[in-house]
Amino acid sequence: MSVFDGLKFRRVYSPIHNLDPRIKFIYVCAIFTTAIIFLELIPLMILFLMQVPFVILAGVKREWLRSMRGATFLAAVIFLTNFIFSFISAGYIVTAFNLEHAVAMTLRFIVLVESFSVFFLTTSPDHLGLALEQTHIPYEFCFAFTTAVRFVPVLAEEAQTIMDAQKARGLELERGNFLKRIRNYIPILIPLIVSAIRRSLELAEAMESRAWGATESRTNLYVLKMHRGDLVLIVITVGILALAIYVRLFLGIPSMNDILGRFFEPQYF
């Protein structure tokens, strides 16, 4: 569950928290796109390091580190699969190139997790809903979205209770081979899904009895406004995108191996 810990919002105030969530989202999307268009290690490293000032400025270092730690397992899987496939396709040799490629793919994943983690760590569910609403998405969808986000910690807690209840009936989650272990989770998942559905129905009834959707056009108490910080972020975002596209199209990117001066000679197995 530690991946999710890195996405949990905590109410603190920082220049990053105060940014307009719409702009922040565009920024995250720009980072996302940039990470996708590069296959090389160096630009991905730059992208990774570029987030660090944001994290420090927002004061969410601990949560961010936790989400990074949570991502290590998947990152390891990505590294291994990339490495093994390029190892096989290169004819069973380890080259500096395929090693670098595997590291780059892993770093790409880490950059994606990192940027989304920063976004969710610094944007309250309320702000997120507000942002959706003010981009003219129907209120029903906005509400469903923010409710889903808000219920994640509740569900996590419920999952813990269910696990306790099944353990108290002798269920051992860690017992058996791989398939058996997956099957062990059925007694956890079914009650979790059932209670989530039940909870949502109850919530719907409770809301309807409090006149949800009674008026066609809703107004908001808070309205999102752009500030100077938001403009700065727009400039940064556009700059990153423009630079990334320019570099991609017109410049050659040296590989780490070229820079380090061919430390790695191909090795045959």
Binding site: I162, D164, A165, K167, A168, L171, E172
Partner: protein, 274 residues
């Protein structure tokens, strides 16, 4: 025998739920743990089957340290019925639900069958054998959860809030059932807010407040002592409240039982008439 020695427990989020709780529960004891919300009742009983491990101090079940064995191993001895049955029901039929624990403990197919039938009968669920547990009412689901734990016949039985959502008849049945378990020398621990139910059962009562045990004694003594009850946010049973207010007339204070109350009142009236 459950021995809890100076146990402290802190949740990962930093909440200190137990602050030096110590107690002993002998085999065959019937104990009600009461106290305000967040007093640490459920946290305490979760130590008995090893779901939680003490941050400091020790919990021994029949002399075995709970930190040394798995929950599954302890669960064979310590049955724990959770407050909300929905946090455990998942099978297609009530029968399979009850068999779940038995299968986990590796009982033989034949034994499983007979134990399931026994548990179904005991809790009045025989007609629902093939029904989906999700189709049952709240009270029935609660009984299925109870049956699914009783099926493997644990020596110690912990019931977390067993009376919530039960109508009077079901409460009465629960009481009968607990008394029956008592005659079988089972250790029964209930966590509850239901003071009237506790007054009817007359168990040993433990009061908890802010992670500590503040009172431990017979229901008759604890539930009739307003000073210690107020600390634990508990109101005495209605009968006791009447007798507390009538104590100026020479009536006894320590009354929690309706039959006893009747006797006392009749005696009092007789004395007055004479």
């Amino acid at each position: 025998m459950i021995e809890v020695e100076n146990v402290y427990f802190t949740y990962p989020n930093g909440v200190e739920a137990l602050k030096g709780a110590s107690l002993k529960i002998k085999n065959g004891d019937f104990v009600a743990i009461m106290g305000e919300n967040g007093a640490g009742k459920t946290t305490l009983v979760k130590h008995f089957n090893g779901l939680l491990k003490a941050t400091r101090g020790t919990v021994l079940i029949d002399g075995v340290d709970t930190t040394k064995v798995s929950v599954a191993k302890l669960a064979r001895k310590v049955g724990f019925v959770f407050q909300n049955p929905d946090s455990q029901l998942f099978s297609e039929t009530v029968e399979q639900e009850i068999a779940f624990g038995l299968k986990n403990f590796g009982f033989k197919e034949k034994t499983i069958k007979s134990r399931v039938t026994w548990a179904l009968k005991l809790l009045d669920l025989a007609q629902y054998r093939k029904t989906s547990p999700f189709m049952l009412s709240g009270g029935e689901r609660k009984r299925v959860a109870l049956a699914s734990v009783l099926a493997w016949n644990p020596k110690i039985l912990i019931l977390d809030e067993p009376t919530i959502g039960q109508d009077h008849r079901q409460k009465e049945k629960l009481l009968q059932f607990i008394l029956q378990m008592k005659t079988q020398r089972k250790t029964i621990i209930i966590v509850t807010h239901d003071v009237e139910f506790v007054a009817e059962c007359n168990p040993r009562v433990l009061l908890m407040r802010q992670g500590k045990i503040t009172a431990d004694g017979e229901a008759r003594k604890v539930l009739t002592n307003p000073e210690i009850l107020i600390q634990a946010s508990i109101v005495p049973p209605q009968i006791t409240q009447i007798f507390l207010r009538l104590s100026d007339f020479g009536l006894p204070k320590e009354v929690i039982d309706i039959y006893e109350a009747r006797e006392e009142l009749l005696n009092f009236l007789e004395r007055k008439v004479k």
